[in-house]
């Protein structure tokens, strides 16, 4: 099998240039590529466009990139947990493109799957439909939505092997596996990196063909946004 391992987060993100279009996995703070975000903070780059369902919180996740003014534009479905985000947006320092979550997921999936455009009912009759082609199929109206692709997709998995095959855990899966094929280069950080043959071929969530670089991350904080417990 083809070996995709790189040394660490620093090596994995080293060639990401200013102005790059990035996809980053995660839902809320769950399943975000913590190590790559830290490594990006050490790079002297800016004007990034980031596709991510959320924008982190003020002092964690993508919020850290925002605070360092590295981001020009966010493409997300929900950004409501981040005060610095709000400030930059109101000041005109940041652009945001808000997309229904299912449309975002499907546009990303289409980008990786060679589907340039598709039709969805989400957003018909709303401001999301402005400027978009609508079309009726079997009596229901749909919007045409285009595929999304990125220069780099940066994702986080639970286990991976050196060939780039990935397994996720719990709801930390979310956008991670579908972003892998949508990036020209996919960087995957994993909690546990194993040799080829150690993962069951029948249990892999993301085939290694989509992953160009993989490394074992460290010191995962896995911050919890809303700790809710029952008695």
């Amino acid at each position: 099998m083809i070996n995709k391992t790189v040394k660490d987060a620093k090596a994995a993100v080293a060639d990401i240039p200013s102005g790059a279009m990035l996809m980053m996995g995660g839902f809320g703070l769950s399943g975000i590529p913590e190590n790559c975000i830290s490594a990006l903070l050490d790079l002297d780059i800016n004007n990034l466009t980031i596709v991510s369902n959320n924008a982190g919180v003020d002092d964690f996740g993508i919020g850290l990139l925002l605070k360092k003014h590295m981001v020009k534009k966010m493409i997300s479905s929900y950004v409501g947990e981040n005060a610095e985000f709000e400030r930059q947006l109101l000041q005109g320092e940041l652009e945001v493109d808000l997309i229904p979550q299912g449309t975002l997921a499907e546009r990303v999936r289409a980008g990786g799957a060679g589907i340039p455009a598709f039709f969805t009912p989400a957003g018909v009759g709303t401001e999301v439909a402005e400027g978009k082609e609508t079309r009726e199929f079997d009596g229901k109206v749909y919007l045409m939505e285009r595929a999304l692709k990125a220069d780099f997709s940066i994702i986080k998995a639970w286990k991976g092997d050196t060939a780039g095959n990935l397994i996720f855990k719990g709801t930390a899966r979310n956008f991670n596996p579908i972003m892998a094929p949508a990036g020209k280069i996919c960087i995957a950080e994993v909690e546990v990196l194993v040799g080829v043959g150690e993962l069951d071929p029948n249990e892999i969530h993301c085939p290694g063909i989509y992953v160009q670089r993989i490394f074992q991350g460290k010191n995962y904080e896995k911050r919890i946004e809303k700790r809710t417990v029952s008695n």
Binding site: G102, R173, N176
Partner: protein, 218 residues
């Protein structure tokens, strides 16, 4: 007037055995507490889980297991995990039978506004637009009037809408109403102690009253 919990309790009576259900944040989440134990339903969380269990015990909290409101949760026997594309394939494809969500406004033709207030910070629509465009049955849980006393049941939404012609039923602190296919809110039930006149005065959209309107039974 119903408490939030009572609104949830009344909505739980709309749930049918064998349904797959998506519950929005707020009052809808409380509905889960009132589904009878002998009823088999499965709750979907659009971040990638079928079979949402109760909040975990302190020692079982797992940052890799949250619901769409970012709260830590647990799984049940028979739960399934999946990615975001699969989750919305499920929603868009009509496999989730019932969506219960909150709203800022509902119009008499079933439009819903619940994601954006002009002039205020935009948080984003999350999965709401996909949900309201897709589910075969959509029930709104909300207060009948805003904090400033304005009716939230309108001839036409004044806020940017989330979806058109999609709301089937509304349960408020005052009443249960159905949206008439040709437009208008059909008053089905009154909250205990609330009069038809009271509801009429607090409903700015067209209210349709057919004969005697019964009080809710829980």
């Amino acid at each position: 007037m119903l408490s939030k919990d009572q609104i949830a309790q009344r909505i739980a009576k709309e749930v049918k055995n064998g349904q797959y259900i998506n519950l929005g944040i707020g009052i809808p989440t409380l509905v889960a507490n009132y589904i009878p134990d002998d009823m088999e339903v499965v709750l979907q969380s659009e971040n990638g889980l079928l079979g949402i269990g109760p909040f975990p015990k302190e020692e079982d909290v797992d940052p890799d297991l949250i619901n769409a409101g970012k709260q830590t949760i647990s799984m049940l026997k028979g739960s399934v995990l999946f990615d975001s594309a699969e989750s919305f394939a499920m929603i868009r494809g009509g496999h989730v039978h019932l969506t219960i969500l909150g709203a800022m406004e509902v119009s008499e033709n079933g439009d819903i506004a619940n994601w954006k207030i002009p002039g205020k910070m935009v948080k984003g629509m999350g999965g709401a637009m996909d949900l309201v465009a897709s589910a075969e049955n959509i029930i709104v849980a909300m207060q009948h009037c805003s904090k400033s006393g304005e009716s939230k049941l309108l001839p036409k939404c004044t806020l940017p809408i989330t979806g058109v012609h999609c709301v089937k039923k509304i349960v408020t602190d005052l009443a249960v109403l159905e949206v008439h296919p040709a437009g208008g809110f059909i008053l089905k039930e009154r909250a205990p102690g609330v009069s038809v006149e009271d509801i009429k005065s607090k409903t700015s959209g067209k209210l349709i009253i057919n004969g005697e309107v019964p009080e809710m039974v829980f």
